[in-house]
Symmetry: C2
Subunit: 297 residues, 2 copies
C-alpha cells in the first residue's frame, strides 16, 4: 500500500574532502532541507525558506522537477530550504537525492540505493553538466562514501567533529572546474593517492587526526583556494584553534574543518573571525558526519 504523502529530511553534503577529488563525500548532520511530496496530476514545486526566491519553480528547470520527470511520476514537491545555495554543501544534490528517494519510497518502486544515486546524479547532470555522484551518494547513504564507477562504498565514522564555514563569496561550480589543470604529474598524484588512502583508514578507525592530516590535496586545492578570499588565514586559524585539517567543501566557497567534537565552537569562532578580518561575512555550521536521508512523516 503506497502512501499519498511523505516528508523527509535531506542532509547537506561535502564532496572531495581534499584528497578524494570527485570520489569522496560525507553527509553532514546539519544543515538539512525538509522535502514533502504528495500525489498529484502533474508535477508542481513550492519553494520555501532560505534562498527560495533564487530557485526556479518551473518543474523543467528545477532539479526536483527534473528528477520527478526522470522517474516518470508527477508529484507536488514542497522544499523547505536550509542548505545555502552555491555554497559547496550540495544544495542541488539534496533535492535531487531527496525527491528520488521520496518517490521511490512513496510509490514502493523498489529501486536500490545505488539506482537512486544513479537517478539523482542524472538530475545533477541536467542542471550542472556533470554527473558526479559525490554529493548525491552521501545524501542517500549517509556517512562517508567512496563513489567509484557504478560502485558505492559507505563507512560510518562516529563522533567526527565538523565545522563548515560558509563565506559570502560566489564560486560557481563550472568556474571552479574550468580553472583546474587538465592533468597532474605522477608525483602529485602519488601524494594525493597517499592522502586518499590514509583518509579511508582514518574513517575506518574514527581517527580524527589522520582524517584531518589526510585532507591536503596538491594542485586542485591550491588552485581553487584562489577563488576564496581569506582561505589561507582561515585555514591557519582553524589549525591553531585545534582543527586537525581544513579543506574546501566541494567546489567551495565553504571551508570545512575536522576536529574533536568538543572543539567545534572554538574553531568556528576562529574561522569566522579570520574571514571577518578579510572583510568577508560568514556563517558557521557546527556539525558532524551524519546519517543519510530519513523519513520524518
Amino acid at each position: 500500500m503506497s502512501k499519498d504523502h511523505l516528508k523527509i529530511k535531506v542532509p547537506a553534503t561535502s564532496a572531495n574532502l581534499g584528497a578524494g577529488f570527485d570520489v569522496f563525500g560525507i553527509a553532514l548532520e546539519t544543515p538539512y532541507d525538509i522535502i514533502e511530496i504528495e500525489k498529484s496530476e502533474c508535477t508542481k514545486i513550492v519553494m520555501l525558506g532560505r534562498d527560495s526566491r533564487c530557485v526556479p519553480t518551473d518543474p523543467q528547470r528545477n532539479i526536483a522537477g527534473i528528477i520527478a520527470s526522470i522517474m516518470k511520476i508527477p508529484v507536488k514537491i514542497t522544499i523547505h530550504r536550509n542548505i545555502p545555495l552555491s555554497s559547496g554543501l550540495g544544495s542541488s544534490a539534496a533535492p535531487a537525492a531527496g525527491v528520488a528517494f521520496a518517490i521511490n519510497e512513496m510509490f514502493a518502486l523498489g529501486n536500490s540505493r545505488e539506482e537512486l544515486v544513479r537517478i539523482a546524479a542524472q538530475g545533477e547532470k541536467a542542471t550542472s553538466g556533470a554527473a558526479h555522484a559525490d554529493n548525491v551518494a552521501p545524501a542517500i547513504y549517509g556517512g562517508f562514501v567512496i563513489v567509484h564507477q557504478d560502485k558505492i562504498i559507505s563507512l560510518y565514522p562516529e563522533n567526527i567533529g565538523i565545522v563548515a564555514v560558509h563565506p559570502e563569496i560566489i564560486v560557481r561550480t563550472r568556474q571552479a572546474r574550468a580553472i583546474l589543470p587538465k592533468k597532474l604529474s605522477l608525483e602529485d598524484i602519488s601524494f594525493n593517492t597517499g592522502n586518499a588512502a590514509s583518509m579511508v583508514v582514518g574513517m575506518m578507525k574514527n581517527d580524527i587526526r589522520l582524517i584531518g592530516e589526510s585532507m591536503a590535496n596538491r594542485v586542485i586545492e591550491e588552485i581553487r583556494s584562489n577563488l576564496i578570499k581569506g582561505y589561507r588565514e582561515v585555514k591557519q586559524s582553524a589549525i591553531q584553534a585545534g582543527a586537525s585539517g581544513v579543506t574546501i567543501s566541494g567546489s567551495g566557497p565553504t571551508l570545512i574543518a575536522v576536529c574533536r567534537m568538543d572543539e567545534r565552537d572554538k574553531i568556528a569562532i576562529a574561522m569566522m573571525r579570520a574571514f571577518s578580518e578579510k572583510q568577508v561575512k560568514s556563517e558557521a555550521f557546527i556539525t558532524t558526519i551524519g546519517k543519510g536521508i530519513s523519513v520524518i512523516g
Copy 2:
C-alpha cells in the same frame, strides 16, 4: 648486551598493487631471503643461493654493503638469496631492509621502524636512483602498507591468497619508469583514486573480491603491460580460474593474482599455462600477505 651475530628472514614484497602507484606495498610470505650478520672489522659480503653470481659482492656496489656504510657499522653479511632478481618482488629491497633491521637489532641502536624504512630507502636510492619506500616499508612492517611522505600506515589482512607468477622476461625498473607518461588526466586520476580508496577498505575488511576488483589502474598498468609478453592472456586466465584481480608486481615482470586461499594452486597452473602458450617460461609462488622481517637465530 648486544649479540655478535644475527640471522633473519626477509620477505619478498610487491609494490603498487595497481591502484597505489608508488604508495601501496605488501609483504609476501614466500619467497624470502635469509640474511646473517656478524660483527667484523670491515664490511664483507657473501652471496649464496639464487642468482647470487649476478650480484656484486663489493660492499660499495652491493645494497647490503651500502646500508652498512650508511649506518656506519661494519659487518660481515651473508645473504642466502631466494627472491628472484629483477622480478618486481623487491629483490633489492629485501637486503636493504634486512641489513638495516639486523644492524639496528644486533647493535641495539633503537631506531624506530620508520627510521629503518628511511635508511633502507636511501640504500634503494643509491642503487636504483629512486628512494621509493614501497618495497622496503612492507618488508619491515609486514602486511599491507600505505607509504605516504614520512608516514607509514600498516594493515594486517588475513587469509588473502596471492599467486605471484614470475616469467622469464627482463624488465628494468628504470625502463619501466621511463616509458610512463609524465602526467595523467583528472578523469583517470579519479578512477585510480577510487580504486586506491576501495583497496584500503578491502584490506581492512579482508574482502578478497574488493581487493581484486580495486587492482585496476588506468594508464600506468596499460603502458607497462606492453613490456610483459602474454600479460593480457595470463590475466584473463587467472580471472577465469577464479582470481578476483591481477596486476603487475612493482615494475614487473611478475604478475600477482589475488584469490581465495583454496584457489591458489588452480590459478597458478592457469597463469603458468597461459605464459607457456606464449612461449614464456615462468615460475609461480603460492603465497599470502605475510609478516615482515623476523629474527630466526
